[in-house]
Each structure stands twice: as structure tokens, then as C-alpha cells.
């Protein structure tokens, strides 16, 4: 296929399909698609506050999507971003609650703590795969549950804030809050961090030896092994970095949005991020755009429910269908390419 048809069959085709599916979901819910989409877009982009909320969701999706992208490029299906996000947030929140250093240093330390926590969570799956040949899909998926209960247990007991009513850490000192990007909204500079990270990843993939090794391992493992790449080490490293990126995302949610850690940190960002990464065709810069699209769905969905009576859950149904459609599209694409000489 040429580049143009690949784009049409790829991300653009997916977007069109998503819009069609959404229209069908709206009709099924008894609303005209015109009303539904109007409500959705007004809710997501209709004012400063709405745009802020959309970008907050974009940021929250972008970090785990970039992490997933890195693992997928190495041929590793990391579906544990949800757990890695959560553990990253937990580490950042736990550290932030006890810090006594100047603000900027504290913020950096929290982000590092998030990377270490998420990275460690990814590393467990990486080690299981590299050492014992465990299937990384199962390992990363199951570690999501471990993460959720582990975090809940810790913030219900040892890490529970002294004044907290529910299961959560103590509130952060405001000097440890990520600076606001768009005044009078909840949008922090985490968005800029995420976009910068996307640029760094794009450069890493296309220009560096590590990116070259990573892509070779994903595309042709046997040829990669024979080219001198240590596949076990690369597997381990890729899943660790993938988890670390998601973990930083968790830390930015704690420091930029919640200002404390609790297990409501993510309404499934780590899972939606899989669709974001795939819609973005595993290209970091396209993933930024895809994350914005999904950010619109996330934040506009609520408004759609309020004014057009389309249940917000319909959005999640659609997100599930998107993954399904993308998997089918990839299958179709390989079939079509396979018949070309």
C-alpha cells in the first residue's frame, strides 16, 4: 500500500469509523447524532474550563499511551499501564506527603518516584518474561489487580493521611503542586511534559541505536537476536521503561490534579490508552493527536449525558469497539498486503 492509502486505512479510517459507531450508539440511545455531537463538542471544547478539562484528560491518557507505544514497538503487549499508573501515583503521593524540600525539587523527586514505582511494576512483568518466558499479556494484566489492591491496602493503613476521611494519603503542600498551565483551570504543565516526552520518544525510535534495537526486536526477533541484540535484556528494559512512563503519568495526576493519592486516580486511563496508542499508529506524535481525540470523548461524554441523555457508558462501549475495530483492521491490512507480490 502507498503511504496515502495506509493513512486512510489507518488512523483516518479509524476516526471515521469511530464517528459512525458513535452515531449509531446515539441513535440506539434515542438521540439524534446532531444533538449528541453538539452536546459532546460543546461539553469538551465550549469554553475555557471545558477545554482545560479536555486537556487534563488528554494528559492523563498521553503518558500511559506513550508507555504502551514503547512496549508495543518492541513487540511486547503491555496491557498493565493501569497498574503502572496507579503505583507511580502511589509512590509520588506517599513521598510528597512527607517531603520537606523546596517546591521544584520536591516536584522533580515526586516525578522520579512515580517513574521508579511504575518502572518497578513493569520490570516485574519484564523479569517474568525474560527469565521464565511468561506471557507478558497475562503478567501485565494480572499485575493491574495486584496494583489496585496493593495500593488500596497501603492507603487504608500505613500510608493513610492522618486527617484523611477515606482511603487516601495526606494532601500535598501546595508548593508541591505542578504549576497551572491554563489559568483558572485544573490543567497543569504536565501536558507540556507529556508532549516533550512524545518528541523524545519519536527521536529515540527513529534516530538512536536503542530505538533501532527496540524496533528490530519487535519487527523480526530472530534477525534482531542474530544482529547482536540481547533479547532478554531488551524485553526487560522495554517493559521497565514502558512502566516508568506510565508511572510518571500517575505522579503528574497526583501532583497536578488530585494533590493527594487515592485509588480513584484513574477511571481506566491505562486501558483507554491502549486504544489511544493504536489509533495513533504507535507513532508518538500521532498518539498526541489521538490522545486529544479521546480526551474530547472523556470530558465531553459527561456533558453529552447531561444535555442529550446519551449515557456516558456509551462512550466506554465505543472505546471498547474501537480496540476491536483496530484489531480487525490490522488483520485485514496484513491480508491485503499478503496478496501483493
Amino acid at each position: 500500500m502507498t503511504r496515502a492509502t495506509r493513512m486512510i486505512a489507518g488512523p483516518l479510517g479509524a476516526v471515521v469509523l469511530i464517528l459512525v459507531l458513535m452515531s449509531l450508539a446515539m441513535i440506539a440511545a434515542g438521540t439524534s447524532p446532531v444533538d449528541g455531537f453538539t452536546a459532546l463538542f460543546v461539553g469538551a471544547l465550549g469554553g475555557r474550563n471545558q477545554i482545560g478539562e479536555t486537556l487534563v484528560a488528554t494528559t492523563a491518557l498521553l503518558f500511559p499511551a506513550l508507555g504502551i507505544c514503547l512496549a508495543f514497538r518492541a513487540g511486547l503487549f503491555n496491557i498493565g499501564a493501569e497498574g503502572q499508573l496507579l503505583i507511580g501515583g502511589l509512590c509520588a503521593g506517599a513521598l510528597g506527603a512527607v517531603l520537606t524540600v523546596p517546591g521544584p525539587i520536591g516536584i522533580v523527586l515526586m516525578l522520579i518516584a512515580g517513574a521508579i514505582g511504575g518502572g518497578a511494576w513493569g520490570a516485574i512483568a519484564g523479569w517474568m518474561k525474560a527469565r521464565f518466558g511468561a506471557n507478558e499479556i497475562i503478567a501485565t494484566l494480572m499485575l493491574n489487580f495486584v496494583a489496585a489492591y496493593f495500593a488500596l491496602e497501603l492507603v487504608s493503613g500505613p500510608l493513610k493521611g492522618p486527617l484523611a476521611a477515606g482511603a487516601e494519603t495526606a494532601w500535598l503542600d501546595p508548593k508541591y503542586w505542578l504549576p497551572t498551565l491554563l489559568p483558572a483551570t485544573r490543567l497543569s504543565i504536565a501536558l507540556l511534559l507529556a508532549v516533550a516526552l512524545a518528541l523524545v520518544l519519536q527521536w529515540t525510535f527513529s534516530r538512536t541505536v536503542f530505538g533501532y534495537d527496540l524496533r528490530a526486536s519487535g519487527e523480526a526477533p530472530e534477525a534482531a537476536r542474530r544482529s547482536g541484540i540481547n533479547l532478554a535484556r531488551l524485553t526487560w528494559l522495554a517493559l521497565t521503561l514502558s512502566g516508568a512512563i506510565a508511572g510518571v503519568g500517575g505522579a503528574t495526576i497526583v501532583s497536578g490534579e488530585l494533590h493527594r493519592f487515592n485509588t480513584q486516580l484513574s477511571p481506566g486511563y491505562g486501558f483507554t490508552a491502549i486504544a489511544v496508542a493504536l489509533v495513533g499508529d504507535l507513532q508518538p506524535l500521532w498518539i498526541c493527536i489521538a490522545a486529544f481525540g479521546f480526551g474530547i470523548l472523556e470530558s465531553g461524554g459527561l456533558a453529552m449525558q447531561a444535555s442529550a441523555q446519551v449515557p456516558k457508558d456509551a462512550i466506554h462501549v465505543i472505546e471498547g469497539l474501537i480496540i476491536f475495530v483496530l484489531a480487525a483492521r490490522r488483520y485485514v491490512a496484513t491480508r491485503v498486503e499478503g496478496t501483493l507480490p
Partner: protein, 471 residues
């Protein structure tokens, strides 16, 4: 030709972006003939057979067939975990109600096999069968449909000499009973031994069509390349120096286990490993490449260049460009990088140099290697292995499945590496290739050295006997 053609192609033209693959080709296949279709990689043979089979639509021209057309692919399309009869009848199983009638199915497969003089156990699992028998299964699947025309794409590429003979015995029988057969192949000896007619293609056009009795291997080869065959580079006198030294090597397991293996390859010579496939050659290559654990000694000085056996799986990333593939296996050298980044300018220059030196037919070094023909892919692998002037070259079936012109070029480059002082170990299943290139031959049998010959003492019959395991 007697009778009416069963398959008739008229004025076929097919273009792909950037290349006209087939350009105004006529072809008739008559009952009872074995028609060989030959040409260099990229001459349009595969495209033409895909059109004849109906897998591709031509841009211009007509295809008319009387009866079914069957196609046996070069790469088998079998399901290893199913039984022979299940593979043969896949999609056409006889039914009794909603269930597969296993008894009738088995009988039908046995009947087809007997009618065609093929011996087969219908209940064997395909993955447990040797390659030659798997091919029989592939053939049976087509024969069950009682084809009027049978197209065979490189049918003997993976077969051992004995298997090739029995394969052609079957084909000749089939033709005698009136099936029209077309074979796409690179092996000109097989063409002159078994075919009745040959069509030679070059650059998408038919350049010669003749009865086998009226031509020769040389004439066919000249028609394929459009002139004289490129000669293999001359063997120069070299100064021998230390190269590879292997002592008491033990590695692998099972039938291909290496034991008490020893080997010396000096710089400036080519040592050929002769042997029938499956006598430990892959284990040896893997041990030398450092891909498996071994016991014993492997001593080697300097750098290594490897031409692996399976170019698509072991040597190339098919979705990547020539430039990116030029770096594969060389990406960890200091020179490959400038600062933190891979030096892509340098890689591009190298890719262009390889394309030039090995005459790779690629419009651009930025196109993915999967769009290249097999011969051009192999040239890239060979060019890459030799570009850094390695002290030791490990070449494993370097010309397998590629046409005569490309093969001569590859062999020349290997000979030149030797002339420049490289120690070359050539593992090949083609004895002719070894006898052409090597300064010394070692016969490998069941994981051990069974005998060795210096170039002055090459004796084809004696080597052949040792390859079969008799001293």
C-alpha cells in the same frame, strides 16, 4: 503441439508501481507437457504464474482455462498440527450430515495417492513428516481437485537429491496421463532433465521458447541473462595466515549434535563443508556465530561477517528499508553512531555502495526490502556481510533459491573476500558450489568430520559417497 491448449494466456500485461512486471506475454499449456518457466529474479515469472492461477488480475490480456488450475507454492501452506488427510481435504471434506465423514475422507486420500503412485500415511501429523513428504501432501491437495493444469513454483527448492528424483518421477507420470504442467524454477539441470518445453523470460517479456531437445543449459542461461554468463571471479594466490581454529567442538542435541568436531580455516582460503542437509550444519553455524552454547574450542582472530541461511527470518527486517537493513548486525559498532544518533548519512552511503557492488535491482534504497525479489534480498545480505572487510566470513547456502546471474555475482564477491585475505567457511548443500569455490572440502556426516580433501584431490564420487555416510 498436438491438441488444444488447456490454459491459454494472451497479451498479458501487469504493472506494479514503478515496474512493468509482465509485458505482453503469450503462453499456451498443452495436455501432457512439462513446461519450464525460467528467468532471473524479477523477470516476471511469479507474477505470470499468479495471473495464470487467477490469484492476480492482469491489466491487459486474457486468460482462458479449460478445467481446474492447481498451484503448489514454493513455501508450503500446510497446517502442521493436522493430519495428512485433513490437510489434503481442507475445505472440501466429505460430509455425513453435519459431521465430517472421516472414513470416506481417508479412503479418498488413499485413493488419490495410489492413483498417482504416491506413498503416504493419511493419519500422520504433517509436522512430523520430512520436507519431501510434506511436499507430497501439498501435491495431493491439488491432485484431489483433479486439475487439468498444475503450476509448480520452485517445487524442489527444499528437497534433498533423492527426494527430487522421486518428485519428478511423479510429475512425469502425471504428465503422461494428460495433465499440463508448468514448473517455475531456477535449477536448469532439472529443466533439461525433465521438462519438454521451456519459456525464458527477461524483464517481463518472453525472450525464448523452445523444445528441450533443441537447447542446452548454457543456451538457456545465456537467454536468461541476455548475454554471456558472468564468470566467477578468479582464484588469486594468497598468503595464508591464521584464521579460524576449532577443536573438539561439542554442541546441540539429537541427530544434529556435533561431536569431536575440528576445523581449520586459514585467512586467504575457502573451506567448504559438504554434507546432506540435517547433519549438523546449522548447529555448527550457530556455534560459530555465537548463537548457542558449546563445549570445546573456537579460536578466531578479527572481525566476522555472516551470511545466514534463512535471509527473511534471520538476516533481514522485511518491513525496513535497504538503508536500515544495512545497519543490522553492525549497529553496535562505534562507527555506526555520531553522538547519540545512528549515522544515517553513512548508512545511506553504505547502502548505495552495496546496491552498486552487488547490482541490486531496487529503484531506491529507501524502499522496504520485502518489495525486493529473493535474489536481490540475498545480495543485500551478502553485501552487508562483506562491506566491513571481515577477517572471517561464514556463508551458509549463500546462493540458495536465487538465479544463476545473482548466484555468480554472490560467488564472485565471496571469492574476492578470500583473495583479500579473509578466512571463508562455506556451508552449502550444493556440491557444485563447493567444488567451484572451495580450496578444501570437509565432508560432514551426523555431526562429525568424515573426511577432507584438498583442491588438487577433489573427487566428486568419493565426496558423494562420504556424504551418504559410507567411507
Amino acid at each position: 503441439m498436438a491438441g488444444e491448449p488447456v490454459l491459454s494466456l494472451r497479451g498479458i500485461r501487469k504493472a506494479f508501481p514503478g515496474v512493468v512486471a509482465v509485458d505482453g506475454v503469450d503462453l499456451d499449456l498443452f495436455p501432457g507437457e512439462i513446461h519450464a518457466l525460467v528467468g532471473e529474479n524479477g523477470a516476471g515469472k511469479s507474477t505470470l504464474s499468479a495471473i495464470a492461477f487467477g490469484e492476480l488480475q492482469p491489466d491487459e490480456g486474457t486468460v482462458s482455462a479449460r478445467g481446474t488450475v492447481g498451484l503448489v507454492h514454493q513455501h508450503f501452506e500446510l497446517i502442521g498440527r493436522l493430519r495428512v488427510w485433513q490437510n489434503v481435504l481442507l475445505g472440501r471434506e466429505p460430509h455425513r450430515g453435519w459431521r465430517i465423514d472421516e472414513v470416506a475422507a481417508r479412503e479418498r486420500v488413499v485413493a488419490v495417492a495410489q492413483r498417482n503412485g504416491l506413498e503416504i500415511d493419511p493419519d500422520a501429523f504433517v509436522e512430523t513428516l520430512p520436507i519431501g513428504v510434506q511436499q507430497r501432501v501439498e501435491l495431493l491437495r491439488e491432485l484431489d481437485r483433479d486439475p487439468a493444469v498444475l503450476l509448480l513454483d520452485e517445487p524442489t527448492a527444499a528437497l534433498a537429491p533423492a527426494e527430487i528424483e522421486s518428485f519428478f518421477a511423479t510429475i512425469v507420470q502425471l504428465a503422461a496421463r494428460g495433465t499440463a504442467i508448468m514448473i517455475v524454477t531456477h535449477k536448469l539441470q532439472e529443466v533439461t532433465a525433465y521438462a519438454t518445453r521451456v519459456t525464458v523470460m527477461r524483464h517481463g517479456k518472453v525472450v525464448e521458447r523452445t523444445l528441450i531437445g533443441e537447447t542446452s543449459i548454457d543456451a538457456i542461461a545465456r537467454a536468461m541473462v541476455g548475454g554471456e554468463l558472468p564468470a566467477v571471479a578468479r582464484r588469486a594466490t594468497t598468503q595464508m595466515k591464521p584464521g579460524l581454529r576449532v577443536r573438539d567442538l561439542r554442541a546441540g542435541s539429537g541427530a544434529t549434535r556435533l561431536h569431536d568436531f575440528y576445523l581449520d580455516v586459514r585467512g586467504g582460503e575457502i573451506v567448504g563443508i559438504a554434507g546432506v542437509e540435517g547433519n549438523g550444519q546449522s548447529t555448527l553455524a550457530d556455534a560459530l556465530a555465537g548463537m548457542i552454547d558449546y563445549k570445546g574450542t573456537i579460536e578466531r582472530t578479527g572481525t566476522i561477517g555472516i551470511i545466514p541461511q534463512d535471509r527473511q527470518r534471520e538476516a533481514l527486517v522485511m518491513n525496513w528499508s535497504l538503508v536500515e537493513n544495512t545497519l543490522l548486525g553492525r549497529q553496535h559498532r562505534k562507527e555506526a553512531c555520531r553522538g547519540l544518533e545512528l549515522d544515517r548519512g553513512r548508512a545511506r552511503t553504505e547502502a548505495l555502495a552495496i546496491r552498486e557492488r552487488l547490482d541490486i535491482r531496487a529503484a531506491s534504497v529507501d524502499m522496504p526490502v520485502r518489495t525486493l525479489s529473493g535474489g536481490n534480498q540475498q545480495k543485500l545480505v551478502v553485501g552487508r556481510a562483506l562491506i566491513d572487510r571481515p577477517d572471517f566470513v561464514l556463508a551458509y547456502n549463500p546462493t540458495r533459491g536465487i538465479d544463476v546471474g545473482a548466484a555468480a555475482l554472490v560467488q564472485s564477491r565471496i571469492m574476492e573476500a578470500r583473495n583479500h585475505g579473509a578466512a571463508v567457511l562455506l556451508i552449502s548443500f550444493e556440491l557444485d558450489e563447493i567444488l567451484t569455490l572451495a580450496d578444501a572440502v570437509i565432508v560432514m556426516y551426523r555431526g562429525a568430520v568424515l573426511g577432507s580433501f584438498g583442491r588438487e584431490a577433489f573427487d566428486r564420487a568419493a565426496i558423494g559417497r562420504l556424504m551418504a555416510g559410507s567411507a
